[in-house]
C-alpha cells in the first residue's frame, strides 16, 4: 500500500488543514486585537457619532396678552414633518422573514399621505425621490393631522419620515387687533407688529439636546443627556383692553358696511398716560393665515399712512392762536362765506356764511374762513413751529414698526395760500395717531405724551423686563389755553357741528373733519373725502380719547354724518362696559367715586343671562339693579345697551325672558 493513500496519510493531511484553520483563527485574533484594542477608541467614537442624535429643541414663543391677561397670541409646540429621502428605502430588517411586501415605499407613502397633508401625491412623490437627506414636507401641523400621519407611518412601517417640534402661533381672537399683534413667519420670527418689535424677547429659545438614537432615529432607553428643558419665554402684556378693542373693531365694521368706505382706522387712547387702549385698521386680516391676504390689508392705517386731517386740525391752530394772544374765545369775526388769499378762495363746508360770530363759533361750526384768517395771522413760521410742537412731522415712537413721520411744509417755501389752507388742515400730512395725540395734549391740559402700547413684559418667574409708563415729551400749551379749547370742543358736540356724536348724559368734547383726499396723481381727488372725528370724554376730566377716520365713504361723506355717529356708538359701548354712568344734571361723578364699592347696590341674588346653545341669550329682569350690574349682564349676553337716566333700573324695552341674538339693542331706563 502506497504511503500516500492510506488512512494515516489522510490523517496527516487533515493535520495540515487543521493548521490552516488554526492559522486563520490566529489571524482573527490579531485582527480583533487591532480593532478592539488599538482602534477601539476611535471606532467607538465613530459609532457614537452615528448614534448620538443632536437635536434642536425649541421652547414656544412668548404669549401676547391684553392688559387684563386675556390671551391674544399664544404658541404651542407643534410637529413639523420632514423626509430623509435616502432613508426611505425599505429596510428588509423591518419585516419578518418572508413577509416583505413588494412595494415602492415612496409611491405608497405619497399616496397615503396626500389626503391627510392636503398636498398632491405627485408632489410628495417627487419630494421623496429627491436626492439629499433633509426636506421639509409640512411644518407646524395641527395635532390631529400630526397624529394621523404618525399612525400611517407606523402602520405601514415607512422609514425616512420624521417629526421635529416647532413653535406654532395661534391668534386666539382671529382678526382682532391684527395690525397691533402682527404675525409670525414659519421660522418663529416676527414679521410685523408687536411680533416684530419684541421678536428678540419673545422668540422661542433654542437649546441642544443630545441623546443616543437607533438607526431609525428613535431614542434608546433613557439615554437623553443634557435634556434640560429650554427656558420658557417671557409674556407680553399690551395696554390694549380686548373688550374695548372688540367694540372698536365692530364699530369699524359697521361703519364700512354703512358707508362703503375704502379703508378706516380708529385709535383709543388714555390722554393722560398715553396708553393705547385700542387700535384697529381696515382692511384687516387674520394673522393665523396672513399669507392669504393682499399687502394693503396688512398695513396698520393708524400709523403707517398719512392723510390731510382737515378740520380736525383746527383746534391745534386755535391753540396756537390762543397762546399767541391773537384770539380769545370771544374774539369776534365776520364770516362772509369766502376768504380770498392770493389766487385762491376758501369757502365754508356748506358754502354758507354765518355773519358775525365769535371765535368759539368758528370752532363750533368749523368755519373755514375764520380759520384761514387766523392761520394767516399766525404766519408760516409760527404755525409750522406750533405744528411741530404738537408732535407732527415726527413719528410718535410707539413700539410698533412702520410708523410714518408725516409731511410738513418747509415754512420758507410756503406761499400765502398754503398758509391759509394749513389753517384749515389741508396741506399737511399726518397719521391718525399723531392727530389723536395732539388732541390729547389739549385734553390732558397741555402735555404732549408719548403713546405706548406695551404695558409690561414679564418672565415666567415674575421678573419685569420692560414696563411702559407715561412719558411727557414736552409741554405744548398752557393749562388755561387747554381748558379754553376743551370747552370750545365740548360745544362742538353739544351744540355745534358735532351734534351727531352726542350721547345723552355724557360730556363729550370733539371735532369733526371732512378733508379732501389726496390723489395719487397729485392734487386732490375729486369727490373723495376723508371723514374723521376726534373726541374725548368726559370733557372736563378726560379719561378716553378716540379718533376715527374713514377713507372715501360713498354717498354721505361728511365727518359729522359718518364718523361722528361711529364715535358715538362705540364710545357708548365702551362707557357702558366700563360702567360709567351718564351724568345727571349736577354733573358727572368722578370715575374714582363710581368705582368705589359702596356705590354699588348689592342685590342678594343677581339674575343671570341664560346663553342658549345657538348663541342667543335670554334677557333677565333688570329691575332694581344698578348701572354696573346691568352693564355686566348686557356684556354676558353680548347685547347693545342704550341707557337713559341714572340710578336704578326701572324699565326695559325688551321684556324679561325674551331670547335675543347677540348685538341686539336693549334700552333700559334708570331712575
Amino acid at each position: 500500500m502506497s504511503r500516500h493513500f492510506g488512512i494515516n496519510a489522510g490523517k496527516k493531511r487533515s493535520g495540515w488543514i487543521g493548521c490552516l484553520i488554526l492559522f486563520t483563527f490566529v489571524s482573527v485574533v490579531v485582527r480583533l486585537f487591532w480593532l478592539q484594542i488599538i482602534s477601539g477608541e476611535e471606532l467607538a467614537k465613530r459609532s457614537m457619532q452615528q448614534t448620538a442624535g443632536d437635536e434642536k429643541v425649541f421652547s414656544p414663543r412668548g404669549s401676547i396678552l391684553d392688559r387684563n391677561g386675556e390671551e391674544l397670541a399664544v404658541s404651542i409646540m407643534s410637529k413639523s414633518l420632514y423626509v430623509d429621502p435616502k432613508q426611505m428605502d425599505d429596510n428588509p430588517e423591518m419585516w419578518p422573514r418572508g413577509q416583505q411586501p413588494q412595494r415602492d415605499p415612496r409611491r405608497l407613502a405619497a399616496d397615503l399621505l396626500a389626503p391627510v397633508l392636503k398636498i398632491k401625491a405627485d408632489e410628495l412623490y417627487s419630494d421623496f425621490s429627491n436626492g439629499g437627506r433633509f426636506l421639509w414636507i409640512k411644518r407646524a401641523m395641527e395635532p390631529a393631522e400630526a397624529d394621523a400621519v404618525r399612525q400611517i407611518i407606523k402602520d405601514n412601517k415607512f422609514s425616512g419620515l420624521h417629526f421635529l417640534e416647532e413653535s406654532k402661533r395661534y391668534y386666539t381672537k382671529n382678526t382682532m387687533a391684527a395690525h397691533v399683534l402682527g404675525f409670525v413667519g414659519i421660522d418663529d420670527n416676527g414679521l410685523s407688529g408687536i411680533e416684530w418689535a419684541l421678536d428678540s424677547i419673545i422668540k422661542g429659545a433654542e437649546t441642544h439636546r443630545s441623546e443616543i438614537l437607533d438607526a431609525l432615529g428613535r431614542k434608546i432607553g433613557e439615554s437623553s443627556f443634557n435634556s434640560a428643558a429650554p427656558p420658557q419665554m417671557p409674556t407680553v402684556y399690551l395696554t390694549i383692553d380686548s373688550k374695548m378693542q372688540y367694540v372698536l373693531e365692530k364699530g369699524l365694521d359697521d361703519a364700512i358696511a354703512k358707508t362703503h368706505a375704502k379703508s378706516a382706522a380708529v385709535v383709543l387712547m388714555d390722554p393722560h398716560t398715553g396708553e393705547i387702549l385700542g387700535m384697529a385698521s381696515r382692511p384687516t386680516f387674520d394673522p393665523n393665515k396672513f399669507s392669504e391676504y393682499p399687502a394693503n390689508a396688512l398695513t396698520n392705517r393708524a400709523i403707517s399712512i398719512v392723510y390731510e386731517p382737515g378740520s380736525v386740525f383746527k383746534p391745534i391752530v386755535g391753540c396756537a392762536g390762543l397762546t399767541e394772544h391773537l384770539v380769545t374765545p370771544d374774539t369776534p369775526f365776520y364770516d362772509a362765506g369766502a376768504f380770498n388769499v392770493a389766487d385762491r378762495t376758501i369757502r365754508n363746508w356748506d358754502s354758507g356764511a354765518l355773519g358775525a360770530i365769535t371765535f368759539t363759533d368758528i370752532i363750533k361750526f368749523s368755519v373755514n374762513t375764520g380759520m384761514a384768517d387766523l392761520g394767516m395771522k399766525i404766519g408760516a413760521q409760527r404755525l409750522t413751529d406750533y405744528t411741530k410742537k404738537f408732535g407732527f412731522g415726527t413719528a410718535t415712537g410707539i413700539e410698533l414698526p412702520g410708523e410714518e413721520d408725516g409731511i410738513l411744509y418747509d415754512p420758507e417755501e410756503m406761499r400765502l395760500p398754503d398758509i391759509a389752507t394749513m389753517g384749515i388742515g389741508q396741506g399737511i400730512a399726518v397719521t391718525p395717531l399723531q392727530m389723536l395725540r395732539a388732541i390729547c395734549a389739549i385734553a390732558n391740559g397741555g402735555e404732549l405724551v408719548k403713546p405706548y402700547i406695551v404695558q409690561k413684559v414679564v418672565t415666567p418667574d415674575g421678573k419685569v423686563l420692560v414696563e411702559g409708563k407715561k412719558q411727557v415729551v414736552r409741554r405744548v400749551i398752557g393749562e388755561d389755553v387747554a381748558e379754553q379749547m376743551r370747552s370750545m370742543m365740548e360745544q362742538v358736540v353739544s351744540d355745534g357741528g358735532g351734534k351727531t356724536a352726542r350721547i345723552q348724559g355724557y360730556k363729550i368734547a370733539g371735532k369733526t373733519g371732512t378733508a379732501e383726499k389726496l390723489s395719487e396723481q397729485g392734487g386732490y381727488a375729486a369727490g373723495l373725502y376723508i371723514a374723521s372725528f376726534v373726541g374725548f370724554v368726559p370733557s372736563d376730566n378726560p379719561q378716553y380719547a378716540m379718533l376715527i377716520m374713514l377713507d372715501s365713504p360713498q354717498g354721505v361723506f361728511y365727518g359729522s354724518q359718518v364718523s361722528a355717529p361711529v364715535f358715538r356708538d362705540t364710545l357708548q359701548q365702551i362707557l357702558v362696559a366700563q360702567g360709567i354712568q351718564p351724568s345727571n344734571a349736577t354733573g358727572l361723578p368722578s370715575l374714582d367715586t363710581l368705582k368705589r364699592p359702596e356705590n354699588y347696590k348689592e342685590i342678594d341674588k343677581l339674575p343671570q343671562v341664560q346663553i342658549m346653545p345657538d348663541g342667543k341669550a335670554k334677557i333677565p329682569n333688570f329691575a332694581g339693579l344698578n348701572f354696573k350690574q346691568v352693564a355686566e349682564l348686557i356684556q354676558q349676553g353680548r347685547f347693545v345697551l342704550i341707557p337713559y337716566g341714572s340710578g336704578t333700573a326701572r324699565k326695559q324695552s325688551v321684556p324679561p325672558g325674551t331670547i335675543l341674538a347677540p348685538d341686539s339693542v336693549v334700552e333700559v331706563w334708570f331712575e
Binding site: G10, F25, V28, D214
Partner: protein, 402 residues
C-alpha cells in the same frame, strides 16, 4: 480512544460540555442581539430567544438520536437517498422558495421556515465520507476523473449549482470547499489540486468581472469606509461594533449595533454584537472554545480506525469549526462578506439543528470506535488469556516430564 482529552475523561465529554457552553453563549448573544428588533417587529423581545431554545431542544434530540441510538453507518449507507431528498428540496426552493433579503433560501413547511442549504452542507460531508472512505480504505489514489471517484464531486457540483441559483454564492462556495477538502484528505493528486485551484481562481475572477455587484463587494472588502453609507454599510457597522467593544465590552444590552444599525445582527453578524458586548477578552474566550472543540473532534478523528468515520469526523470539523472561523474572519473584515453563519452563536433554526446533528455524528463515530476498540480489546484479552493458558499449560507438563 480512551486517551484523556485535557481535563476531560475522553473527547466525547469534552465535546458535550463545549457544545453546551457554546449553546449557552449562543442563547445570551441571540437574545442580546435580537431583543430590540424583536420588540419592534413582534412586540416580543424574547421572540428569537424562544425560537432558538426550541430549535436547540429539537437539535439536542436529534443529536441524542444519532449519537446514542442510530448507528451512523446507516446514514452512510443510505446516503444516496439523502442526496435524492435534498436534490428535490433544493429544486423546490429554487422553484417556489421564500425570498428574504434578496435570496430565495427558505421553504415554508407547516408554518416554519427551513433552510435546505444548511442541511445540504452536512449531507455533502456524509456523501463524501461515504464514497471516498471506500477508496481510502483500499488505498487507491483518488482522482477526479476516475469513473466512480468523481461521483461525490459531481454531486457537490450539482448541489452547488442549485444553491448558486438562489442566488447564494457563499453557500455554494462552502459546499465546494467542503467536498474538495474531503478529496484532499482522501488523497487527491497534487496536480489535480493545483488544477482545481487554478480553475477556481479563474472562475472567481470571471464571476467578479461579469457581475458588477461582486466587483463592488471586493472593493468594499478592501476598504469598506469608502462607501460607509451604502454598500460598505454592513461591514462598517460590524467593524464599529466590534471596535467599540474594547477590551471588556460594553454593558450588557447596550451594544448599539443591534439598534437597527447593524444588519443581520442576530444572524450572520452575531459575532460583531458578541465582540461589542464581551470585548476582546470575550472574543478570545469564544475562539478558545472553538479551538478546544476542534481539537477534541480532531482527536476523535485521529484515533478513528474506520476510514469512513475518519473522513466523516474530519469533514464535520471543517463544517462546524471551519465555518466558525470563516464567519469570524468575514465579520472582522479579513474576508469579504459571504453568507456564513457562526455555529451555535448565530440565530438560525436549521443551522442549529444541523450543527447539533453533526456533533451527534461525531459522538456516534466515537462511540462506535470505542465499541470497536473495546471489542477488539476484549478479543485481544480473550486471545491473550487463551495464550496465557496455553503458555501456562505448556509449562505444566514440564513438571511431570522431568
Amino acid at each position: 480512544m480512551h486517551k484523556r482529552f485535557l481535563i476531560w475523561d475522553n473527547p466525547k465529554d469534552a465535546i458535550l460540555v463545549l457544545t453546551f457552553l457554546l449553546m449557552a453563549l449562543g442563547c445570551i448573544n441571540v437574545f442580546s442581539a435580537s431583543f430590540v428588533e424583536a420588540k419592534d417587529m413582534f412586540d416580543n423581545g424574547y421572540y428569537y430567544l424562544y425560537r432558538y431554545a426550541i430549535y436547540g431542544a429539537i437539535g439536542l434530540g436529534v443529536m441524542g438520536l444519532i449519537g446514542w441510538w442510530i448507528p451512523y453507518r446507516y446514514l452512510l449507507q443510505y446516503r444516496q437517498i439523502w442526496y435524492g431528498i435534498f436534490f428535490i428540496m433544493l429544486v423546490c426552493v429554487d422553484a417556489f422558495g421564500v425570498t428574504n433579503k434578496g435570496a430565495q433560501r427558505w421553504l415554508y413547511i407547516g408554518g416554519q421556515s427551513i433552510q435546505p442549504s444548511e442541511m445540504v452542507k452536512l449531507s455533502i460531508i456524509i456523501l463524501g465520507a461515504g464514497s471516498l472512505g471506500e477508496y481510502l480504505k483500499r488505498g487507491q489514489p483518488v482522482s477526479l476523473f476516475a469513473k466512480g471517484m468523481c461521483v461525490p464531486f459531481v454531486q457537490a457540483a450539482v448541489f452547488a449549482g442549485l444553491v448558486l441559483v438562489q442566488p447564494d454564492m457563499g453557500t455554494a462556495a462552502i459546499i465546494f470547499a467542503l467536498m474538495i477538502g474531503l478529496y484532499i484528505i482522501a488523497g487527491l493528486p497534487r496536480i489535480q489540486l493545483l488544477g482545481l485551484l487554478g480553475t477556481a481562481v479563474v472562475g472567481v475572477i470571471g464571476l467578479i468581472i461579469v457581475a458588477p455587484y461582486r466587483f463592488a463587494r471586493v472593493k468594499i472588502w478592501l476598504d469598506p469606509w469608502q462607501d460607509a453609507g451604502n454598500t460598505g454599510y454592513q461591514v462598517v457597522q460590524s467593524l464599529m461594533s466590534i471596535g467599540s467593544g474594547g477590551l471588556v465590552g460594553k454593558p450588557f444590552g447596550m451594544g448599539s449595533g443591534k439598534f437597527f444599525y447593524l444588519p443581520e445582527a442576530h444572524t450572520d453578524f452575531a459575532f460583531a454584537i458578541y465582540c461589542q458586548e464581551w470585548g476582546f477578552i470575550g472574543a478570545v474566550l469564544l475562539i478558545a472554545l472553538f479551538l478546544v472543540l476542534a481539537a477534541a473532534i480532531h482527536q476523535i478523528a485521529l484515533n478513528a480506525k474506520s476510514e469512513k468515520g475518519f473522513l466523516l469526523v474530519t469533514g464535520i470539523n471543517f463544517l462546524v469549526v471551519g465555518q466558525a472561523v470563516a464567519n469570524m474572519a468575514m465579520v472582522c473584515g479579513i474576508l469579504p462578506v459571504i453568507g456564513v453563519p457562526l455555529s451555535f452563536i448565530s440565530y438560525g433554526g436549521t443551522a442549529l439543528i444541523v450543527n447539533l446533528a453533526a456533533i451527534g455524528i461525531v459522538i456516534a463515530v466515537y462511540q462506535d470506535e470505542v465499541k470497536q476498540e473495546t471489542s477488539q480489546q476484549e478479543v485481544a484479552a480473550v486471545f491473550e488469556k487463551r495464550k496465557q493458558e496455553l503458555v501456562g499449560k505448556r509449562s505444566l507438563p514440564r513438571r511431570w516430564q522431568r
